[in-house]
Amino acid sequence: MEVSAEARRIMVVALGKLYSSRTQRGGLRLHRSLLLTLVMKSARDIYHAAQTTAESMEEEQQEQQHSEVEMAAEASGVQELQGPSASLPHLAADADAQSGTGKQENTCLSGPPHHTRKRRGKATAEPDFLPCKKAKMEYGTAQQLLVSSVLVDYANCSSELGPSPSAVPLPTVIAAC
């Protein structure tokens, strides 16, 4: 989705700028950091809203497909196949749904299993903080790492990147100054 991709790009750029401003001469610029945080917040809100819409649309599609397959399987009249074939799409649908919510959860959580608060060595840390140079980013994972690792490193915020816009840990980004 256009909006979603743009929102993600804006967030990535904001994070990169926030990170590089830490090493800028003259110290952290509060005004600039605040503006970047606000941009990132609105991009993130729009991104999540777009994601939720996309996922709910996806689920609807899955259910539709599931019921179609079931009908087709019944129509085939082969009882032996009916069971497994009916269950397979069902399982598939379930798996998709689970992974869908799972993805969402991954997106939301800063993922303690994936990332600790301890600083990594420079060699490993760099790809996480800076915008990914790969042409395509892994859906969800890269964003999770980018968002979570910079924020955690930057301002010791708790992993509260929930789906609801009301949870706003992003302003903590500037608390460090």
Binding site: R25, P171, C177
Partner: protein
């Protein structure tokens, strides 16, 4: 580093090679300010230096050399410092210069970097004492046995020497970066503003200041706006205004309370919901605020517009001028290349009838409030031969109908930005800072304000 279009161009000594596009960063001009008579023009740069230009008196013998600005004095105002406690380097860049009204033969100005404000005395010396008894002409101590008679030293004329000395240093009062200073009309006090606080100083007292505005929240996580500029009213010594990153202006009255957190007036234009984008907050941040000379109006600049506000109307601006609306569709790329964070200043002419502000590609814009006409001009060496008349420029949309000399939006050079401009207090003379070059333009036809 000055260039005057009405004289033979002076060389820029500071490392600008015309053939290559190389500019020493320390030479980038960061502030420009005329004094109250317009006789002196001060510039500050990123390297912490201040250069003062003086206007030559009009000469009857050579009518074309009347009123040119030449270098009067250069001095190092601020040096880079290091805050050991926070492990932060403090830049020497001069953020603002403000002149004090002249009260005797000497001139005084305030210059500030991110943390420290200094008061400088600029005085002339054109006589020196000669005929000391104990020292000879070169200053060596005389052998007492050779002194046979006493003489009274006399003052003899000498070549003019401009001496600049620091008279006061106002330090350690700001946690955040100072963005503005403003001298009060009482000529005794001034204020300095950083991102979250405004302090009031007495010009003679350096070891303490009074905090008059503090918008720092108890919890920094709740921070939503910062102070971006502040200025005293030109006539009412109790009033001042400060602008915020949210696009609001607050007029405060120091008579109401010691701490002016509560504003007397709040100037805010409601946001147009249709124009909302990712970057709405960034482009609505006010980068500069200036009172009109009359004190009746306020001029503000945000990323795309300049607005004139009437002090008596808080609900919306009186006039809105589009500076470069063609950039509205390019905000994403301007955000990526950092240009969207550029802070443009604005200026009034002496009669408050025309406003001026800078843009990209070394363009600057002037808007006549009465005729509603506007003009785009360019400050560049190519288009500014001495005594040449500036040609109005036009920016057209990409692929749109192009006239000769028009420039397309996509061809604009965003590294050439005019952030700092100043207008002579009485005459139609303007000073434009284009990166490391200073341009001074005079309107010979209409030299008086109307």
């Amino acid at each position: 580093m000055g260039e005057d279009t009405d004289a033979t161009p002076t060389l820029n000594h500071h490392g600008f090679l015309p053939d290559h596009n190389y500019v020493t960063e320390a030479d980038i001009i960061s502030t420009v300010e005329f004094n109250h008579t317009g006789e002196l023009l001060a510039t500050g740069d990123k390297g912490g230096r201040v250069v003062i230009f003086q206007r030559e008196p009009e000469s009857k013998s050579d009518p074309f050399s009347q009123g040119e600005y030449n270098v009067y004095s250069t001095f190092q105002s601020h040096e880079p410092e290091f805050d050991y406690l926070k492990s932060l380097e403090i830049e020497e860049k001069i953020n603002k210069i403000r002149w004090l009204p002249q009260q005797n033969a000497a001139h005084f100005l305030l210059s500030t970097n991110d943390k420290t404000i200094k008061l400088w005395k600029v005085s002339e010396r054109d006589k020196r004492p000669e005929g000391y008894n104990l020292k000879d002409e070169e200053g060596r101590i005389k052998d007492i046995s050779t002194v046979t008679s006493l003489q009274v030293p006399v003052l003899k004329p000498m070549d003019l020497m401009v001496e600049v000395s620091p008279r006061r240093v106002f330090a350690n009062a700001h946690t955040y970066h100072i963005n503005s200073i403003s001298v009060n009309s009482d000529y005794e006090t001034y204020m300095s503003a950083d991102d979250l606080r405004i302090n009031l100083w007495h010009l003679d007292i350096t070891d303490r200041s009074f905090n008059i505005v503090d918008i720092k929240p108890a919890n920094m996580e709740d921070l939503t706006e910062v102070i971006t500029a502040a200025e005293f009213h030109p006539h009412h010594c109790n009033l001042f205004v400060y602008s915020s990153s949210k696009g609001t202006l607050r007029l405060c009255d120091m008579r109401e309370a010691a701490l002016c957190d509560k504003h007397s007036k709040l100037f805010e234009e409601p946001e147009d919901p249709c124009a909302r984008s990712f970057f709405s907050e960034i482009i609505s941040s006010v980068s500069d605020v200036k009172f009109s000379h009359s004190g009746r109006y306020l001029l503000t600049r945000d990323y795309l517009t300049a607005k004139v506000w009437d002090l008596n109307m808080e609900s919306k601006p009186l006039e809105t001028y589009q500076v470069h609306d063609y950039l509205r569709s390019k905000l994403c790329s301007l955000y990526e290349n950092d240009c969207i964070f550029d802070k443009f200043e604005c200026a009034w002419n002496g009669s408050d009838s025309v406003i001026m502000t800078g843009a990209y590609n070394n363009f600057f814009r002037m808007f006549d409030r009465n005729t509603k006409r506007d003009v785009t001009l360019e400050a560049s060496r190519e288009s500014s031969k001495p005594r040449a008349v500036l040609k109005p420029r036009r920016v057209c949309a990409a692929g749109g109908k192009r006239r000769k000399d028009d420039i397309s939006v996509d061809s604009l050079d965003f590294t050439k930005k005019i952030l700092h401009t100043a207008w002579h207090p009485n005459e139609n003379i303007i000073a434009i800072a284009a990166t490391n070059n200073l341009y001074i333009f005079q309107d010979k036809l209409n030299s008086e304000m109307h």
